[in-house]
């Protein structure tokens, strides 16, 4: 967009005055709009628009929902509410599993800690970290 050079080495942009005027205008416009959206009248108007949209669309939405529910019932298929309920239950199960996972992790860490602690029998070689796992302890218990 820049064209020929000026005396100070910068390029002369014929659009620059237009851009400056545009920015000035947009600044003024922007401030006016900010004042407008901050007004009670704007809040009231947008609230009314949203409310009328919801009021007008509600009967159609309800009709579609009822029709869909009936169709699904006739086809012996689960409704949207059934699926959502299952999703909620799955999240609860996920939480229980997460708690179990954490508890198992705690137990594992405790076992490793106990396994690597110095043993009372002197003279015997200390087992390495890797060997002091739960299966080995179980083996000793069986003997």
């Amino acid at each position: 967009m820049a064209e020929g050079p000026t005396h100070d080495g910068k390029r002369l942009d014929p659009m620059e005055p237009w851009r400056a005027a545009r920015d000035l205008y947009m600044d003024a416009w922007g401030k006016t709009m900010v004042d407008m959206v901050n007004s009670e009248a704007y809040a009231q108007a947008t609230g009314a628009m949203l409310d009328s949209y919801m009021t007008v669309s509600a009967p159609f939405r309800e009709a579609v929902e009822k029709a869909m529910l009936k169709t699904l019932e006739q086809m012996a298929m689960p409704s949207r509410a059934d699926v959502l309920s299952i999703a909620e239950r799955l999240t609860n199960i996920e939480m229980r599993l997460d708690d179990l996972d954490a508890t198992l992790g705690d137990i594992q860490r405790l076992l490793v800690k106990v396994g690597t602690a110095p043993r009372p029998q002197a003279g015997k070689a200390q087992p390495s970290k890797k060997k002091t796992t739960r299966p080995q302890r179980a083996k000793r218990g069986k003997k």
């Binding site: 947009m26 416009w29 922007g30 709009m33 947008t46 609230g47 959502l84 954490a102």
Partner: protein, 355 residues
């Protein structure tokens, strides 16, 4: 992306510029490029651990968990290579985790602050502790994420929270005249129950409209004018493209949280008044003892400073700091000045408290 090339033919140059403009507006930029691994999930929430770039002996021992807002994508923290808070903090030696809330579905419409702060966050933090092998951690909450981290800090702060960083935190809603959102969602004009009965969750598009309508000319026109004015600057176009990718990637807000946000916070200011109840527990900010850094954006039109400042006098933290930085709600962390001002300050503050 096609960039405008230096050509003497004005027609070709104009076509190139239009092509660049079209691509920047209509395509998605490559964002969130920092390598990370998924370490935990619950419902839609995911906990990521960023792959450390420094050896363990050079890293800070206290891990940092990033918690972003519920209704925007968290990759604003890792926007693009060479300009990413995540990348910056990894290079500074932090063990970094990100809690991504995901996209709530219709089945999540009843999720509340209660669920996020007492079911999701404690479990994610438990996992973080198990992986990092330390009992203490730092939390960084931004925007609605700062509300979540504040509630968590007040209710479960004694479970290892050492440092709390709040970015543009909307916590005080007492100044109704200064909050445009408070005016729009006033009970005389806005029927929150009817909205949620209609939509279930608050649609991302409506939240996006609300955020943009605060400065309509700037967001709907000025933003594109700025792109056109700088269309020959590939670095500027790249930054604009990444930001536009993030801005247009909207996430709905769970209905239960939206109701609490409007009724309990915007209308009744329950958090700051100490009346907010989370599963029967009162959120008392005087129970926050962690070291606290509150970052305020001086040009923030979404969360004005009057919403973030008052927490400083409410907490019991001995070590607390209020840091003001020039910029807007998002700009302070993702704008061109972020890497010069906000990020170094956060690192400087946190590094000395992460030993």
């Amino acid at each position: 992306m096609a960039e405008a090339t230096a050509t003497t033919d004005p027609v070709i140059a104009a076509v190139d510029r239009l092509q660049t403009l079209h691509n920047a507006i209509t395509t998605k930029a490559a964002i969130a490029q920092t390598p990370k691994e998924l370490v935990w999930t619950l419902n839609k929430a995911k906990l990521y651990r960023y792959v450390p770039v420094l050896p363990k002996e050079k890293r800070h021992p206290i891990p940092l968990l990033l918690v972003f807002a519920l209704m925007n994508r968290p990759y604003i923290l890792d926007l693009r290579r060479g300009h990413s808070f995540v990348e910056y903090m990894l290079n500074k030696g932090y063990d970094l985790y990100l809690l991504d809330w995901g996209v709530p579905g219709p089945e999540d419409k009843n999720l509340k602050f209660d669920d996020y702060t007492l079911d999701y966050m404690p479990r994610a933090i438990r996992k973080l502790k198990a992986i990092s092998g330390v009992e203490e951690f730092s939390l960084l909450g931004w925007c609605i994420g700062a509300i979540l981290t504040t509630i968590y800090a007040a209710l479960r702060g004694d479970e290892g929270l050492r440092n709390l960083i709040l970015l543009t935190a909307p916590l005080d809603f007492s100044n109704k005249q200064g909050l445009t959102f408070a005016r729009w969602t006033d009970e005389r004009y806005f029927d929150v129950d009817k909205v949620l009965a209609t939509f279930g969750n608050m649609p991302g598009e409506m939240i996006d409209y609300g955020a943009k309508a605060l400065k309509p000319v700037e967001n709907y026109i000025g933003n594109y004018v700025k792109l056109w004015d700088n269309i020959d600057d590939p670095r500027m176009v790249e930054g604009w493209h990444a930001m536009n990718t993030w801005v247009t990637d909207n996430v709905p807000l769970a209905g239960g949280v939206f109701r609490q946000l409007i009724v309990d916070l915007y209308r009744k200011d329950k958090l700051m008044r100490g009346e907010l109840m989370i599963r029967g527990e009162r959120v008392d900010m005087s129970r926050i003892h962690a070291n606290l850094l509150t970052v305020i954006a001086e040009g923030d039109h979404i969360t004005p400073s009057c919403q973030s400042e008052p927490i400083m006098s409410k907490v019991s933290s001995v070590d607390k700091e209020l840091f003001r930085v020039r910029g807007g709600h998002i700009g302070i962390m993702a704008g061109s000045g972020a890497s010069k001002y906000t990020w170094p300050h956060i690192d400087g503050w946190l590094a000395s408290r992460s030993r």
